[in-house]
Subunit: 182 residues, 2 copies
DNA sequence: GCTCGATACTCATTTAATGAGTACAATCGC
DNA sequence: GCGATTGTACTCATTAAATGAGTATCGAGC
């Protein structure tokens, strides 16, 4: 309960999304992650890195683990969400990403899990992300106009960002369409 | 002269671009880098990180350094490009980036220095990058069509990339326009 | 009975990145 | 003219992220 609210909420919080379905061991999460038509398209990590992130999430109290011995085969460490982890996940999945550069991986991951939650969660995320994008766009356009004649390189950078954000906005509409069609 | 050609050519090779203008010490490079209307818009690094990269580039033989004592003030370590560094830079600045995700930082950096070189270098880079983009676009579109009905999430990811690449292509035209107007 | 691939992790090491620290010169207020 | 601050020019210890390789067991196939 520190006064300074720590909220980096980075992409590794997507792992909580897998554990929300049911408790799983690391290897199983990695298998789900590796689905080439799922999250793997946007976020890849090595096994060892996955275990490291799980350890970190456990240390932060978002998951707990228990060793589950079996008659045959090696003992598994089964992770499950804690209350804190559940809250954190639900918060993560509804919060839009703060920069265009985070759409490619993190927003896609959020949308992936928001769909799993329910149609409403996905719609809410889309709405909020669209609002955020419109703000970025306004800021970039304003700045671009300011430097149009004086700073050619900066203008070019702003134009690049404007184009990317516009494309994101169009694509967010595509997401919405898809959502309706399912 | 290893048989396996090592060509990661990552963004730190932009530092060679600064040293191409003239030999400089680390602090001076950092000052140039920090220009808020220049490269700083797309690539920021801490002082300590800059020195680390310079040491790495020196180890790789792309730059050499010499201590330059002065009557007043602390001794400076002045870096200068080697032949290998010059070649490496010229290669870097003419090579398009291999993925859409590298346009935001690395392509912008390349274009920044290509402009400094001469109009021809910049035009060549633009042309090659456009060709690369068109290839990406084709691949993504083909794949998107294949999975259109079977893999909704993958389709969405492909659509996202298609939109981003299209926006990049439009923006590359903007770059070309700017080049002509200067 | 032996190899091969799948299961389920662990660990050492490398690489990247951060923050803080050092030391001294110049400059500015008063 | 002196104390405080800002600018110059780096260094270093530590943390954090990422990689690659290694271990050990099981079951299936030959």
């Amino acid at each position: 309960m520190s006064p300074m609210v720590r909220t980096p909420l980075t992409i590794e919080h997507a792992l909580l999304g897998f554990l929300r379905r049911r408790p799983m061991h690391g290897y199983e999460i990695h298998q789900q992650l590796r689905d080439p038509t799922g999250l793997w398209l946007v976020w890849r990590l090595k096994q060892s890195q996955l275990y490291a992130l799980l350890a970190k999430l456990e240390e932060e109290g978002h998951i707990t683990s228990a060793l589950r011995a079996r008659e045959t085969g090696p003992t598994r460490r089964v992770y499950r969400l804690t209350k804190s982890g559940r809250d954190r996940f639900l918060d993560w999945v509804k919060t839009p990403v703060p920069h265009g550069r985070e759409v490619r991986q993190e927003f896609l991951a959020k949308f992936f899990f928001a769909q799993c939650e329910n149609r409403l969660a996905a719609k809410q995320l889309l709405r909020r992300q669209r609002a955020a994008c419109r703000e970025w766009l306004l800021a970039q356009r304003t700045r671009a106009d300011d430097v149009r004649d004086s700073q050619p390189f900066e203008w070019l950078v702003r134009q690049f960002r404007i184009g990317q954000i516009e494309a994101i906005l169009d694509w967010l509409d595509t997401c919405e369409q898809l959502l309706k069609s399912i």
